[in-house]
């Protein structure tokens, strides 16, 4: 893959909560790469290690082992940090600052040129639709407004890599759409977007590629269509009569009502299934392929990791 913006290799992290508490191995050799300009979704259930990975990339926690490169630079270098725009999960804000003051503070930390800072702040406030509320202290903001200001500070330094931790979590549909549009705009202008989420429709709608992380490991990685088409096909059949007892293909689910049966079977061979049902004497009324969803895939990896 050419022009890698973010490379994470064999990342490991174990937390040691206390003397008398068991250690928690959160990351178990996590590896993935994000190419320039793509929207990369980091999908996984709560506790999978998504936020820990993002904290490690931003040097908020220190991994026990592994390597993280941002635009080819070690993630701990100031140059690498200058290229990242980061928005944390449920924005942590200063209640005493106004939105504009917060952005000025963020600009100072980024080392942005003082003369152009006011204009840049106005620009990002406009971009996230927060020009109106910028003079209010952030203690009075709604969740959606906080999310927008947090996004504005992430965009302030014109980052090459935008890292967003659960950016749409807790937002209403309008807010989610607004954030989604901003992500798409950024990607269209060449910014690489890496975001974690457990909301599957967000991934399906906007991501170029996705990594499924469960139990501290990447379980699957690729575009949504690649991941889904890699899966074994499943078919749903309805027919008159009871479910044949001598069906060789194992059933995933079945239901009988009013003299008709419905079964779901996992097979890649549609023709052999038709013949098999015919051999069993079933009068097939319909046989439809079932598209495996990303949710199915996530659940399967989750269950496999659990077992």
């Amino acid at each position: 893959m050419a022009d890698i913006q973010l490379s994470v290799r064999d990342l490991q992290k174990t937390f040691h909560p206390g003397l008398f508490e068991a250690s928690i191995e959160v990351l178990k050799g996590l590896s993935f790469e994000v190419a320039r300009g793509e929207i990369f979704g980091f999908l996984g259930p709560n506790g999978a290690g998504k936020t820990t990975t993002i904290k490690a990339i931003n040097e908020i926690i220190y991994p026990d082992a592994g390597e993280i490169l941002v635009c080819g630079l070690p993630h701990t270098s100031l140059e690498a940090k200058r290229r990242i725009g980061f928005m944390s999960e449920s924005p942590y804000i200063y209640r005493h600052l106004t939105g504009r003051e917060y952005l000025r503070f963020s600009g100072e930390l980024l080392g942005l040129d003082r003369t152009g800072l006011a204009d840049r702040i106005a620009q990002v406030l406009d971009q996230v639709g927060m020009s109106g509320g910028a003079e209010r202290t952030m203690g009075t903001y709604s969740k959606g407004m906080l999310q927008r200001v947090a996004l504005a500070q992430a965009l302030l330094g014109e980052p090459e890599l935008l890292i967003l931790d659960e950016p749409m979590s807790g937002l209403d549909p309008v807010g989610r759409r607004a954030v989604r549009d901003i992500i798409l705009d950024q990607a269209a202008s060449g910014v690489t977007v890496f975001f974690s989420t457990h909301i599957i429709p967000d991934v399906e709608m906007i991501c170029d590629r996705v990594a499924i992380i469960v139990d501290g490991r990447v379980q699957a990685i690729g575009s949504v269509s690649e991941l889904v088409s890699d899966e074994a096909k499943t078919y749903e059949a309805t027919f008159v009569g009871a479910v044949p007892s001598d069906l060789r293909t194992p059933l995933e689910a079945s239901h009988v009502a009013s003299g008709a049966s419905w079964v779901r079977v996992a097979t890649e061979n549609r023709e052999s299934l038709i013949h098999e049902l015919g051999d069993c004497g079933a009068q097939v009324e319909s046989l439809d392929p079932v598209r495996t969803t990303l949710e199915d895939l996530l659940m399967r990896h989750y269950e496999e990791a659990g077992s």
Binding site: N58, E59, I61, K81, Y92, I93, E101, L109
Partner: protein
């Protein structure tokens, strides 16, 4: 250094917008002004008593502000996770520590400036004199607070807020009893006990080095060497303690 100043300015702004600070400053001003009342009730030179009590009040409330605000401003930054957004930017951890420390010190300095002005005005009204030596005493108190604020910063990154406050308070109390500790090492029988107390004596600052109250109140001569050593002593302690704070914070996982 721009990031350090930005963090210091934000810390100062946060404190200025917090009502607790005004409570402390209000009490400090009331104490300084009411030293006039103590002067009237006590036998002796009223002006000297005003200066003595006024300077003691300035020191006490500066200490309270250093202890309380360090815990509020540093622990809150970590606990409320606003620190994540700072450290994700091109900012080193030592810059965060130094910025928070300078912000805290500027709050204490602002309180000292205000209470010194109030004390000088009180002395001017009561005795008709302008005693510039009060400025010197305030500067020495500031030196003491630089050391105390460094300890408060260390404890803020080392432990929980309440424990950190108590530990800083303990440094203040023990720091003013250093001479007694030294005497104790000579009088106690057990060698081990003497050794332990000697270690405490050398590890903790002797805050009495910054106490020139008697000299200022009674217009006694002040040794330049003593002042010079006090400055060096404060700088050395601040550098060492802030380095320890940085060392602790540098490798710390923030959850």
């Amino acid at each position: 250094m721009r990031a350090v100043w930005a963090i210091a300015a934000n810390t100062f702004r946060e404190a200025v917008r917090d009502r607790i600070l005004y409570l402390f400053i209000g009490f400090a001003v009331v104490m300084v002004v009411s030293s006039k009342l103590f002067g009237m009730l006590t036998v002796g030179d009223e002006t000297k008593i005003i200066k003595d009590i006024g300077l003691a009040a300035m020191q006490f409330f500066s200490m309270l502000i250093a202890v309380m605000m360090s815990m509020i401003l540093i622990s809150r930054e970590v606990d409320s996770r606003t620190v994540f957004n700072i450290l994700a930017k091109p900012v080193r951890r030592w810059q965060f520590i130094l910025g928070k420390y300078l912000g805290l010190v500027s709050i204490v300095a602002a309180n000292l400036v205000l209470t010194t002005v109030v004390l000088m005005l009180t002395v001017r009204v009561v005795a008709g004199e302008v005693d510039l030596m009060l400025l010197f005493a305030a500067a020495m108190t500031m030196l003491e607070m630089l050391v105390l604020a460094a300890f408060a910063t260390l404890f803020a990154v080392l432990t929980r807020p309440i424990l950190g406050s108590l530990m800083t308070l303990a440094v203040f109390v023990v720091g003013h009893m250093s001479a007694d500790l030294w005497l104790l090492t000579r009088q106690l029988p057990g060698a081990l006990t003497r050794a332990v107390i000697a270690v405490v004596y050398y590890l903790l600052p002797n805050l009495e080095r910054f106490n020139f109250r008697t000299e200022v109140v009674h217009h006694l001569p002040i040794s330049g060497a003593a002042v010079g050593w006090a400055v060096l002593y404060a700088v050395a302690f601040v550098v060492v303690i802030l380095s320890l704070a940085n060392l602790r914070f540098r490798g710390k996982d923030l959850k």
